[in-house]
Amino acid sequence: MSSRVLPQFDLLTPQSIPEAVAMLAQHQGQVSVLAGGTDMLVWNYIRKVKPAYLLRLSGLDDLDNVNYIPGEGLRIGAKAKVVQLLDNPDVAEKFPALFQAAETFATPQIRNMATVMGNVLRGSPAGDCSCAILALGGQVVLQGPEGERLVDIDDFWVAYGVTERKDDELAVELRIPEPTSTTRSAFIRMTRVHEDLAKLNVAVCLEINQNTCQQVRISMGCVGPILVRLKQTEKMLVGKQISDGLLQQLAASAQEEIAPIDDQRSTEEYRRQVAGVILKRVIEKAIGAH
């Protein structure tokens, strides 16, 4: 049930990260963090959440940027919008899976508002940027009362909509490691209509040397309560020459490894059938991309 009026809340507008963390600690469990607002305010409209406080990030400097640091990788600040991934030539060149996820993400207006970090914190198994980030690997930087801690993206989502972030922690940055000259990545999603949420999405990041796969990370979305790595399928690929026959085996393995359900966007049966097909396509897309 949606309402045209947001519920009542108080606003918190910290001017520094320590102040924000102190506020989160003081009002533990009663605060929702507001950055882009494209999920958070919808959740308030439908009363899925009814926080006593909304903590705005607007007063915090230094969290706005998408920076590529040679030798280290990509740094995405908590307030960086999805559109900034498209405006940054380093993302297109070095992190194509993330660039492709941003390209198909929602609508232009939402890309101007939504943050990349918000997509990760939402903890949806359908998150497009999240799917790409899981394949690329990386870490979420959390600031809490005890200081900073880094959580591997592989461990960040613990259940549907639930993350490793504690109530008194502020997620401040995403870090994605530097690719090598042999790293290839790609992202594909399937939707009912363009602006819809994914019914299935997949991303892959491979180390390829003379058509032999040396390392790989495959992530798939909408096939379980959280985004998943297809680790069995990854093992079948490592050390192998990529061939049509191998791609067929990977597709069959992917179908076995996922646990999709029927919902309003698709069915279990359909998702299982197409999962193998889009896995083949995303690997081909990654290898073809330079």
Binding site: L11, T38, V42, Q109, E195
Partner: protein, 169 residues
């Protein structure tokens, strides 16, 4: 009621008023400032009816933006596109191409078009169609809207857009 004194700069004019903190920018425009040209459609950021420009370039959904978050930004609604009683070239192009039927989506379409052209004065048809992804029209079927954006692009002095850093005031 938790309220806050805020100043919103809309169409080049500052408005200072006391707003509930849970007020969206769309509600502030329509209900506090009585600038009702910006429309409520879905309320969840999917239809684009509430699209306004921030700082002359960025199109956003005013239904998913708190009014307090828009403080310090320059907001342009379709009402701000008209200068000294003269319609903006984008408005003229929509009229001349007949890109309006019931008109409900038009304010959002015009503001999204302003954003498309502010960022890319000569978009291809593909870029226009992709650019209008977030604006739903239930009457016209988009063909005439795409033609209107093309016509507006031809009508406008692109160097002027780039020099002024965006659209509107």
């Amino acid at each position: 009621m938790r309220t806050k004194m805020i100043t919103l700069c809309v169409n080049g004019r500052d408005h200072r008023f006391e707003a509930p903190v849970n007020r969206t920018l769309l509600q502030a425009l329509r209900d506090d400032l009585k600038l009702t040209e910006t429309k409520y459609g879905c309320g969840t950021g999917e239809c684009g009816g509430c699209t306004v420009l921030m700082d002359g370039k960025d199109s956003i959904c005013s239904c998913l933006t708190l009014a307090v978050e828009a403080e310090g930004r320059h907001i342009t609604t379709v009402g701000g596109m008209t200068q000294d009683g003269e319609l903006h070239p984008i408005q003229i192009a929509f009229i001349e191409e007949g890109a309006i039927q019931c008109g409900y989506c038009t304010p959002g379409m015009i503001m999204r078009t302003a954003s498309i052209l502010a960022n890319n004065p000569t978009p291809s048809e593909e870029e226009i169609r992709r650019g209008l992804d977030g604006n739903l029209c239930r009457c016209t079927g988009y063909e005439k809207i795409v033609q209107a954006v093309q016509r507006a692009s031809q009508m406008m002095d692109t160097t002027q857009i780039q020099k002024s850093g965006g659209m509107g005031q």
